[in-house]
Structures are given as C-alpha cells and as structure tokens.
C-alpha cells in the first residue's frame, strides 16, 4: 500500500512539473502523449503492486489457517492421550508441531499441578463408580487407586472408572457394556 502511495505521489509531481514548465502547443501535445504513457505504466505498476499484496495476504491467511487447524487437532489429541503420542501419529507431524505438542502438554501439566486437580479424566458423565473392562494388551502388574491388579490379556475385571479411562482412550482396554 505504501508503494502505491509513492507511485501516486510521483505521478502528481510529474503532472505539476509539466504544468510549471509552460511549453508551447506542439510540445504540449507531445508531452500529453508522454504523460498518458507514464500514467499507464504507473497504473499497471500500481495494479501489479496491489495484486501482489493481495495474493500475499491471501497466502498468509491460508497458511496460517492450515497450521492453526493442525494445532487444534494436535491439542484435542493431547486431551485423550496425555503426553506421549503413538508412533503413527508422530511420523505425520513436523518438528515444530512435535515441539508445540510438548510445550502444550507442559503448560497443561503446570496448570493442573497448580490446581491440584486431574483434568484429563472424566470426559463423559459417570454412571457407575466401577466399570467392567476387558484388557486387550498385556500390561502386567499395575498399582491402581484401591488395588494392585495383574492386567493380563483378555482378563475381565472391575476397575474404578478414573483408572480405566486412561487405558480405554489409549486402546489397551475396552469397556464391556453388555
């Protein structure tokens, strides 16, 4: 926009200087032709500059929208998975995105530590304090909130909801509703 202003100013100066010289008729018609030439050249410059600026701004908007939307999706993953992303997703992220995910997880952790409240559990309203789950992967012995359990594959057990949710979202357990 500034360049366009400069071009317009140059045009005005040229016009003014032409009038001040006060030339004869012949020279007037010649300089008239020159003037229109210069004006057209300047106008195409102005239009060129405007088109360049507008397309730059549009590209910037598109790029930022793309990066921003990806960042949104990464954040929603962070709510489900906690702090480590599975391999198939990690290879689809750029380095900056991996760094952003780490930073975001750290920010969330610090907020939750200040509040002393775990915010990633309880994503759906609870219906029962305990739920029945079947273990899909071999996890081994884990100390849960009120028992020490051996989570072997294909075992069906009753777990506290807050404990089981973490494994369910990671796909290591499934809920039995039948």
């Amino acid at each position: 926009m500034r360049k366009i202003q400069e071009h317009e100013d140059k045009l005005k100066d040229k016009n003014r200087s032409q009038e001040e010289i006060g030339t004869s008729e012949d020279e007037m018609s010649k300089s008239q032709a020159e003037k229109t030439l210069i004006q057209n050249a300047l106008k195409s410059d102005q239009f060129g500059a405007l088109v360049h600026h507008l397309s730059l701004v549009r590209n910037k908007r598109c790029l930022m929208a793309y990066v921003y939307k990806r960042a949104e999706v990464i954040r929603s993953l962070g709510w489900m998975v906690d702090s480590v992303l599975p391999e198939e997703i990690q290879e689809k992220l750029s380095t900056s995105e991996k760094e952003y995910f780490k930073n975001h997880a750290a920010t969330l952790q610090s907020y939750m530590a200040e509040l002393d409240l775990h915010l990633t559990v309880d994503m759906i309203p609870p219906k029962d304090p305990y739920i029945k789950v079947r273990v899909l992967d071999d996890i081994g012995e884990i100390a849960l909130s009120d028992q020490v359990a051996n989570l072997a594959r294909h075992a069906i057990m009753f777990l506290r909801r807050t404990d089981a949710e973490q494994y369910i979202t990671q796909g290591q357990m499934e809920e039995l509703t039948g």
């Binding site: 926009m1 500034r2 600026h53 730059l56 701004v57 910037k60 908007r61 790029l63 930022m64 990066v67 921003y68 960042a71 954040r75 750029s94 900056s96 995105e97 760094e99 952003y100 930073n103 975001h104 920010t107 969330l108 610090s110 907020y111 200040e114 509040l115 409240l117 775990h118 915010l119 559990v121 309880d122 309203p125 609870p126 029962d128 304090p129 305990y130 909801r161």
Partner: protein
C-alpha cells in the same frame, strides 16, 4: 452433598433451598459456561467451597469403607462424589477450551482478562507464547518483513484483523427464574419483550448479556 432437602413442606421453599446449595450452583454455572459463546466470570468462591466439600466427602467415604458400612450406601456416596467431581472438571475444561480458542482476543481486552482466575491467566500467557512460537517457526518467519505479525494481516492493516473474536450474536436458549417485565432487546429500542418466569426464549446472546452476568437469566 444436597443438604437440607425438604425440611419445609411448601414446594417454593424447597425450590429456593435447592437452588442455593453448592451442587445446584455449580450445575448452573457449568450449564451457563457451556452455552455461552464467550468466557464468563470465574466463580472463585464456588469452586473453592466445592473442593472443600469434595475433600470432606472423600474422607467420609474412606471412613465408611474402613468401617465396613453397607457397600450399597458407600457406592451411592461414591457415585455422588464422582458426579460432582465431573461437574467441576468439566467446568474448568470448558473454560480452558474457550481460552484456547480466543486467547489473543482475551489478552487484548482487559475486561475479559479479568474474568480469568490467576492460574488461568498464567495458562493463557504460556499458551499464547506457545502458539505464537509455533506459528512463527512454521509460517511467519518465511514471509517478507511487513507481513510477519500474527495479529495483523500486513503492516498496512489498520487494526488487528487476524485475531478471532467470540461471536456474540449467536443465539442461545435461556430461561429466567422470575418475572422480569418488559426488556429492551436492541440498543435502538426496537423490540420490547416480556420475560416471564420459567419460559424458554431463544435470543441473541448480545441482547441478554447483562442479564446473564447479573445472574437473573440462566442459559440452557
């Protein structure tokens, strides 16, 4: 948690008593927060009291388990506890998600910045720094000099036009508890509506914003 239920026989008294217990207050704060397009005031003392009550309940449940009280009663108390914890967590989560969506706008507007709690303000600053750094690294550092701001499209824009703002004229469904009489909808004084108690209205959020803030109208 719902203490003092049904001590007096009249239904009105029961209603007003129920609506002032912390559980009900938390529920309505949660509902308002979920339905409103912008972030509302942080109910600091409500959250504080709820956490204290949750703490008490947890200790009580533990004592019951150790004493060997009827497991059915214990699980009932447990589920009540769980549901309250869910309300609290979901309330805080909804606020966080709104902050994430509109962080640059909230940082600019002092009124909205004051609606956040201190921890939320810290979170918002760190979050804004994170996302600015990410955008800078991926996109903005490769652009020519005049276009590198994350708030403006280019240095020639007159205002910060790349900041998303909450849509204040989106429609919300609301209900008032008492009869409020005639209320002027728009600033131009175009429409007057009668707000009756317990009637549902679908209105643009902007027109009832002051009523929501004073607590006279609840969003559904």
């Amino acid at each position: 948690m719902d203490s003092g239920a049904g001590e007096s026989s009249a239904a009105d008294d029961y209603e007003s008593l129920m609506s002032t217990t912390d559980a009900e207050l938390l529920k309505s704060a949660w509902r308002n927060e979920k339905a409103a397009p912008e972030i509302l005031n942080y109910a600091a003392d409500l959250v504080q009291r709820s956490r204290q009550q949750i703490q008490l309940m947890e200790e009580m449940v533990e004592d019951y388990i150790n004493d060997g009280v009827d497991p059915l009663t214990v699980s009932l108390y447990q589920i009540d506890l769980d549901r309250t914890m869910f309300l609290l967590r979901s309330y805080l989560r909804t606020r966080l998600q709104k902050i994430e969506k509109y962080v640059f706008h909230i940082q600019k507007t002092a009124e909205e910045w004051n609606r956040l709690s201190k921890q939320e303000q810290k979170f918002a600053s760190r979050f804004a720094g994170d996302i600015k750094h990410h955008l800078d690294q991926s996109v903005l550092s490769r652009l020519p000099d005049q276009y590198q701001s994350h708030l403006r499209q280019s240095a020639a824009s007159e205002e910060d036009d790349m900041v998303p703002e909450p849509q204040l004229d989106s429609y919300v469904v609301c209900r008032s508890k008492k009869y409020l009489g005639t209320y002027q909808l728009n600033d131009g004084g175009e429409e007057l509506i009668n707000i009756e108690a317990d009637d549902l209205y679908a209105l643009p959020y902007k027109s009832i914003k002051p009523l929501v803030e004073s607590g006279q109208v609840d969003l559904v």
